[in-house]
């Protein structure tokens, strides 16, 4: 038997055996390249607190909602005596607008007042003069010495002068009223805190122009000792929501922070959902029922107004009628 046929015979057998081994190796290599089997996410989401629940996304607000402080008229901001995080009392000054135009007007009204006062004096002097003239005429006992016509004229003069005094007084009163009005208007340019609370945001600074647009308030005031959660519930789940259902909130991003929520109220008007996802354009997808819950502000970790929370609300079993 030739060498060639020997090589062919045993070589082919060896190569065939090697082929089977190689394909097993290939199978193992591709098994190693497999992606891991489905499992849990790297950071485990919170355990659901209830068996049957309705999930919602919510946003933290200060209790009694965040008050967007507005200005009465558009104008230049003169002074902002408060800072962010300041605790303010009711009627504390929050913001002053520029009032120089009104002060200028006040000056001219004050001058007007002085003029009116002088005018009163002038007309009073006039009246005194006319009165004394009339008195002299009436003191004459002989009726023939004074003509009837003259006497009447003098009386009329006194009446006119009296009216002039009254008019001058009225003018003074008008000037005074005008002054009061201007000081009220000046007073109105100072914005006071409508309630106790903490300054959450200040967007207006001295020298800036404050507009009356409700979308850009000059500052936001809120009571942050107690917070509330405004939970958006999809309209399809809204039928499972009742007042006084138990609820828990989880801070988005940290499932270890759980806080019990206390029911406050249901907003009776179902509104279009405003996307909280941070997308560049607001997308109105669906309508949502808003439920308000309050919570005690925990000391640790700190919670901030405006944070997103995942809310689980205990709900009746959907297979049974509630």
């Amino acid at each position: 038997m030739s060498i060639f046929s020997l090589i062919l015979r045993y070589g082919s057998i060896a190569a065939a055996i090697f082929g089977v081994v190689a394909i097993i190796f290939v199978h193992q290599t591709q098994a190693e390249k497999q992606m891991p089997a489905p499992g849990n996410p790297p950071i485990m989401p919170p355990q659901k607190p209830f068996v049957e629940s309705v999930a919602a996304t919510g946003i933290l607000e200060s209790l009694s909602e965040n008050v967007a402080i507005g200005v009465p008229i558009p104008g230049l901001v003169a002074e902002v005596p408060v800072k962010v995080n300041d605790k303010v009392k009711k009627n504390q000054v929050l913001l002053k607008l520029d009032d120089r135009d009104l002060r200028a007007e006040e000056l001219s009204v004050q001058a007007q007042q002085e003029i009116s006062k002088a005018q009163i004096k002038v007309s009073e002097a006039q009246l005194a003069k006319l009165r004394s003239q009339l008195e002299r005429l009436t003191s004459v006992t002989d009726s023939r010495a004074v003509s009837r016509d003259e006497l009447e004229n003098r009386k009329q003069d006194v009446a006119v002068a009296e009216a002039q005094v009254a008019a001058a007084k009225a003018q003074l009163a008008a000037a005074e009223a005008s002054l009061k009005r201007i000081s009220l208007l000046i007073e109105r340019l100072t914005v006071y805190a409508p309630q106790d609370g903490t300054i959450l945001q200040v967007t207006a600074h001295a020298g800036e122009y404050a507009a009356t647009s409700p979308k850009s308030p000059a500052m936001i005031l809120g009571d942050i000792d107690r917070l509330q959660v405004r939970a958006d519930i999809d309209e399809q789940n809204a039928i499972r929501i009742r007042a006084d259902q138990k609820a828990y909130g989880y801070l988005k991003g940290d499932p270890s922070v759980t806080f019990p929520l206390e029911f406050i109220r249901l907003e009776p008007y179902v509104i279009p959902k405003i996307s909280l996802t941070g997308s560049s354009t607001e997308r109105v997808d669906t309508r949502v029922l808003q439920v308000i819950y309050s919570l005690e502000r925990p000391s640790d970790p700190p919670l901030y107004v405006g944070q997103q929370v995942d809310v689980y609300i205990e709900a009746p079993d959907r297979h049974k009628s509630p």
Binding site: I13, A15, A22, I23, V26, T29, M35, D234, N237
Partner: protein
């Protein structure tokens, strides 16, 4: 007798080579083409492998993972509200274009995952920290992207590294991690970012949520939970267990309704593209060519050795024993041809697996099936020889 059979088989080098070569090509064609087909079909479901979640909830009429109908953002909360769901998170998946520094464009598969839990994050990180994904304008790219998005793919020193930047739809993206991922069917690399940022990278639409990924509560299987989700929300819930039959498969008026997203996706491609026809034809031709060559060669081999076989018959060897000899010869040739075919396939496979291209995924059933097919070919060939032999009169040996 066995020795005699082997001696006869190996006696003629040229015939032996012909026999083995036919079976070798048949094996190679069947195994390699079937594996490439499986690999390609697997690529269609690579999103399901890369975002490994037990349950996928999609819009009611969605049939495959690469073609989804977006849902509303609140659908995440609706799925979360189902008692059988342990967790549910949003997922965005879509094709986007990346602009490179030199101005060229590359298509990528963008994935947006929940930023808090990072559910749907890549399974194996090679470099970088997954949690850096929460930093502004950051993405995690797969290995393919490191070369695909580099300025010069042939130069390894220019690979995309952590800290490199590119643009997705004119928005900056900074690489904070590199991971392993399966290639997508469209050939683009996978790029992970958070759900919120994926929406920023993508041109706005009214609905953007591709799917909700979820997991069943403890003590419940994914199938049960998926049933509960479908019942409660009216959305379609698929499990993600891999291609195969599922207890939730059922026939509907519109066709088969699959319970597994992999199965559903693959069947969609089988029904709606020409891929299975093209590969199937090659496999069938491989089989036919194998049959034709092997039968012909084996028959010629039997004819050549007819004298010896006739002599054996004349010496009193029964037809049965002679048949056993022929069957053994055919079996041996089949075994060797099959082994050589596997060797060639392994060579191809290792190249493909290391390169990531072309697709190659060999299910364990493929070589077994190929073995059966090859043996069927061999037995057919042996049968022809046996028929010829049994018609042969021993006296014929002495007539010549």
């Amino acid at each position: 007798m066995i020795r005699l059979a082997l001696k006869m088989l190996f006696g003629d080098n040229a015939k032996y080579l012909m026999l083995v070569a036919g079976l070798f090509f048949a094996t190679f064609l069947i195994v390699q083409q079937a594996s490439v087909f499986c690999g390609l079909m697997r690529w269609t479901t690579s999103t399901l492998k890369n975002v490994a979640a037990p349950i996928y909830v999609v819009e009611e009429r969605v049939e495959q993972v690469n073609e989804t109908n977006p849902m509303r953002d609140t659908d995440v909360a609706r799925v979360r509200s189902v008692a059988a769901v342990r967790w549910a998170m949003p997922l965005f998946s879509g094709l986007q274009r990346v602009r490179l520094a030199d101005g060229s464009f590359k298509t990528i598969q963008l994935l947006g995952i929940d930023s808090a839990s990072l559910a749907g994050a890549p399974g194996r990180m090679i470099e970088g920290n997954l949690e850096d994904l929460r930093l502004p304008n950051t993405v995690v790219i797969d290995e393919l992207a490191t070369t695909r998005l580099s300025s010069d793919p042939s130069d390894p020193s220019k690979k995309v590294k952590i800290g490199d930047q590119f643009e997705i739809n004119d928005v900056e993206a900074r690489v904070v991690g590199i991971c392993e991922a399966l290639r997508s069917f469209t050939g683009g690399p996978y790029i992970w970012t958070t759900y919120e940022r994926a929406l920023l990278y993508t041109p706005g639409a009214r609905k953007m949520l591709t799917a909700v990924i979820a997991a069943p509560v403890e003590g419940m299987t994914a199938n049960q939970a998926a049933d509960e989700i479908e019942k409660a929300t009216g959305l379609r819930a698929f499990v993600n267990e891999g291609f195969g039959s599922n207890p939730r498969d059922r026939m509907t008026a519109k066709g088969e309704h699959y319970g597994d997203f992999n199965t559903s996706t693959i069947w969609w491609y089988v029904k709606n593209t020409g891929i299975p026809i093209s590969f199937g034809t090659t496999v069938v031709i491989g089989f036919i060519v194998g049959v034709a060559i092997s039968c012909q060669t084996f028959y010629a081999f039997v004819l050549d050795n007819l004298k010896h076989l006739g002599a054996l018959k004349a010496m009193g060897m029964s037809n049965f024993r002679l048949s056993i000899m022929l069957v053994f010869q055919a079996f041996t040739v089949g075994l060797i041809g099959f082994g050589l075919g596997l060797l060639a396939t392994s060579g191809f496979a290792l190249g493909a697996i290391n390169n990531g291209q072309p697709p190659f995924y060999m299910q364990w059933q493929i070589p077994i099936g190929a073995f059966v097919a090859i043996q069927v070919i061999c037995m057919l060939a042996a049968l022809m020889g046996i028929i010829r032999l049994s018609l042969y009169e021993p006296a014929m040996v002495f007539r010549a």
